[in-house]
């Protein structure tokens, strides 16, 4: 049994009378990719904010490596090795890959002068570790010249440099083509192979189904389903389940088009 990295127990969050989350249980093991699925307003972003310590839960318990943590905050979250990668916004696109990876944590020597060759060396090591290599660019390439999937790679490499144990990917493939999505999946698998964990959030069920080891479906602030990969036969099962949750009584017939991209938007 893999080590339990982080566990949320009975987490609730209310804004006044409105419940954003009502008693959510969620755990992530070491070296596991957990897919978090849910419609808009299901409470995904609140959950991310709680994990990253930006928002404090109204009630509930957070355990890191089996030990309850009191006074959960952004600093505690960082100490626990949780790093959130937001789509596209987090990179300085006119700078090199190296400058983005070491943003705010430059490798410096005497009087703050950069250790340029050491940074390049370290950046290529990190990029190789997540399988982020290519003939057409080097660590000194400008991020603006990279594709959407490759930019996710830069953000993931940076998270790993920051000693992240759990990387939260917030909708990493939403705006990406199939080729680019495949690149992101490749990075995610490499990260998992290195023993780190990923919480993969998306509303494209096909994407999440392809990459996750375990699924958590969130619906109106509650966990509607937690299932291992082995328990789910196909993405269609998951889609049907979500439609049942969203529209009890069955509107499933309306969505039998097989157009996966469209159905989940």
């Amino acid at each position: 049994m893999a080590e339990r990295l982080i566990e949320l127990r009975d987490i609730s969050k209310s804004y006044g009378q409105v419940y954003a989350l009502g008693g959510v249980n969620l755990s992530v093991d070491r070296g596991e990719v957990v897919g978090l699925i849910g419609d808009n307003g299901a409470g995904k972003s609140t959950l991310i904010k709680i994990l990253s310590g930006v928002v404090k839960p109204t009630s509930g318990e957070i355990l890191v490596r089996g030990k309850p943590v009191t006074g959960w905050s952004a600093a505690r979250s960082r100490d626990a090795g949780i790093e959130t990668v937001f789509q596209d916004r987090a990179l300085a696109v006119q700078q090199t890959i190296v400058r983005n990876i070491f943003m705010g944590r430059e490798l410096t020597g005497f009087l703050g002068w950069l250790k340029v060759s050491k940074e390049i060396e370290e950046a290529s090591r990190l990029m190789r570790e997540i399988g982020f290599t290519s003939k057409v660019f080097t660590p000194q390439s400008i991020v603006g010249q990279l594709s959407g999937g490759e930019r996710q790679g830069v953000a993931i490499a940076r998270a790993i440099y920051k000693q992240a144990e759990l990387i939260i990917l917030d909708e990493p493939t939403t705006a990406l083509s199939l080729t680019e999505t495949a690149k992101v999946f490749h990075f995610v698998r490499q990260v998992r192979a290195s023993g780190r964990s990923i919480l993969f959030i998306g509303h494209n069920i096909h994407h999440v189904f392809d990459i996750a080891d375990r699924f958590v479906v969130l619906d109106r602030g509650k966990v509607a389903l937690t299932a291992d990969r082995s328990e789910i036969k196909s993405a269609e099962d998951l889609i049907n389940f979500m439609e049942d949750v969203a529209h009890p009584g069955g509107l499933a017939g309306l969505h039998d088009t097989g157009d996966a991209e469209g159905a989940v938007r």
């Binding site: 987090a90 700078q95 950069l114 340029v116 000194q140 080729t179 495949a182």
Partner: protein, 347 residues
Amino acid sequence: MSKTMEPDLHEPSAAIPRPQKEWKHPSDQWLRGFILDNRASLGTLGVFIVMMAVFMVANPTVFTTWYLYSSVLTTLPVALFVVVPLVFVVTCGEIDLSFPATMGFASWVFALVVQAGYDPFLGIAAALVTGMLLGFLVGSLVVYGGLSSLIATLGMNFLLRGLIQIINEGKSMSLTGLADSWAYKIFSSQVYGIPVQIFWAIAFVVLSAMLYNRHRFGAQVRVVGDNPDSAQQMGIDVKRVRVKVFVFVGIGAAIAGTFSVMINFTWWPTAGDGYLLPVLASVFVGGTPTWGGIGTVVGGAIGAVTVSFIQTGVVAAGLSGFYVQFFNGLIIILSLLGHKWNQARYR
């Protein structure tokens, strides 16, 4: 355990990027890399060379005499000391129009200390402290006051200049004693006919270029100018970095003001006023774009050389002074068009 099984069926496997063993090292094609990395400054250099060639053809006799270059090299350093810090400010996504008044104010302090009979070195130190304080004041006003740097620094320029004028009532200060001082010999004399200021200015440009490209300060300035939200998220104190660039301008303006007083042995209440537009033009002619995040210190320096040769060159080439503004404008517009094409890869 099916948990670890790869869901390959859903994978467009042909699209998986194949991991490469080795990076294609940039040094394999170092010349191409060098040109790509230094496009902006090389472009500026090209503009300068073409311009000088035109001048030389127009009037070969004047442009082969040393006197012309000597006079440009005397005044150019003053501009360089402010152009370079302004590259940092513009890269950081801000602008500083208050440097002419800071030049006047800091050099006024220098003149006061020298006139009071103290060593000019002490005057230089006092001017530097004044420049730093004024830079900090302007920077704090913009950053912590949340004001537009364009308007706030313009206001500070008027305010400080007004203060100088009110107190001095337009009177200048003559500092004839300077000529015998060590400070003058070190900073403002001539070596084999070359004005010594230019060596200090070149050292300043080289040090600043390293600060820009190879120091944490430069790296953070670029990142803050590029994406302040991201920089903040990654733990960079964005406001602190922004204030620092204004302090840097203050320091540069203090050096520039002091040098201009040492060249003329006189301090005027208008000291620095004439530098506003040429210096700004130099930054942008040099290839630093207006939107922040990127820039070039060396390009800015070459831009300053270009701008200071326009005036001398137009007159020396036999055209009347009325042509100077026209050529100033022409060079600025042509450079901007060239850089726009250059910078396409960033946007």
